[in-house]
Symmetry: C2
DNA sequence: TCTTACATTTAGAATAATTCTTGATTTAGA
DNA sequence: TCTAAATCAAGAATTATTCTAAATGTAAGA
């Protein structure tokens, strides 16, 4: 596994600047997310982290993920009411879920676009977050049809 | 309360064309959704429907909502992992939730915008649904600041 | 170094939305 | 009217997540 620092130098500072400690558990959870970018659920993160740190508990996984989200290092991705998934991609992007194979893809915003220019927001409204979830069929699944 | 037929003539056919019956319960649930367009949760729909049909159960509310969604008369709206909300607005639109007052607003897509022109979808991907959730502060709450 | 305060981890209990199960009821059509 | 299928209803079951409380770890100051 690639060391965390290589992917995101400065992540340790991000955590401490938010008033948290960089514990071994938090480091492992973050490594797991960076190592395999397939938007795992908390339980999947748990199973993966357990392989390198067998004593870790699911409650700790939830705690660590919550801290990472709070620090802005990780984003939550929700599809319908399925279990929340976690994504360490911090660039502005939405998601696409293939309804046949279930895979979730990051979908970047086209350059030159702004959220406020796409939706007809009433005057005075200000957007802080946006959760964009597209669903359909991915190229592989469309091919097989 | 305005009769359903006035809002959406043809809804009865939509239900039967999908192989379902238009039962009194389904009618009431649909009326409740049309009467107050504030994106209620299943429990809120339950409480409102109960006033006109005291014997109805929460399980039936879930059943009716599921049927209405299946027939395409109602859409589900999810914010994070909060309880699912229900929306009878069938025009293409996203949602905006004010993080201060909690209200949810329908947000129409700007004419001339299409999902494919906003998001950088890989070649071969086809979109069937899109769930757009913006969050921030509404005009009223921004005013009070 | 020792102490103190506080953050964190952990296991298991608790919660809450939703789904499932089962039996009763209703309805449409023969 | 009769029968089969659809629907409703009550409560149990499920599941992701949060909460609780106790144990452990860590940083900073005396």
């Amino acid at each position: 596994m690639k060391p965390v620092a290589q992917e995101n130098p400065g992540y340790a500072e991000t955590i401490s600047h938010n008033g948290h400690r960089l514990t071994p558990q938090r480091r492992e959870v973050y490594e797991v997310l960076l190592a395999q970018r397939d938007h795992p659920t908390a339980t999947e993160v748990f199973l993966r982290t357990k392989q390198r740190m067998p004593s870790i508990s699911l409650a700790t996984i939830y705690n660590c993920l919550e801290t990472l989200v709070e620090c802005g290092l990780v984003k939550q991705v929700n599809v319908e009411r399925d279990a929340t998934r976690y994504c360490p991609n911090l660039t502005e992007h939405g998601h696409f879920m293939c309804e046949r194979c279930g895979k979730i893809y990051d979908v970047p915003l086209l350059a030159s676009k702004r959220v406020g220019r796409t939706w007809d927001l009433p005057v005075g409204f200000t957007v802080v977050h946006n959760d964009i979830m597209l669903r359909g069929a991915c190229a592989d699944c469309n091919k097989g049809t």
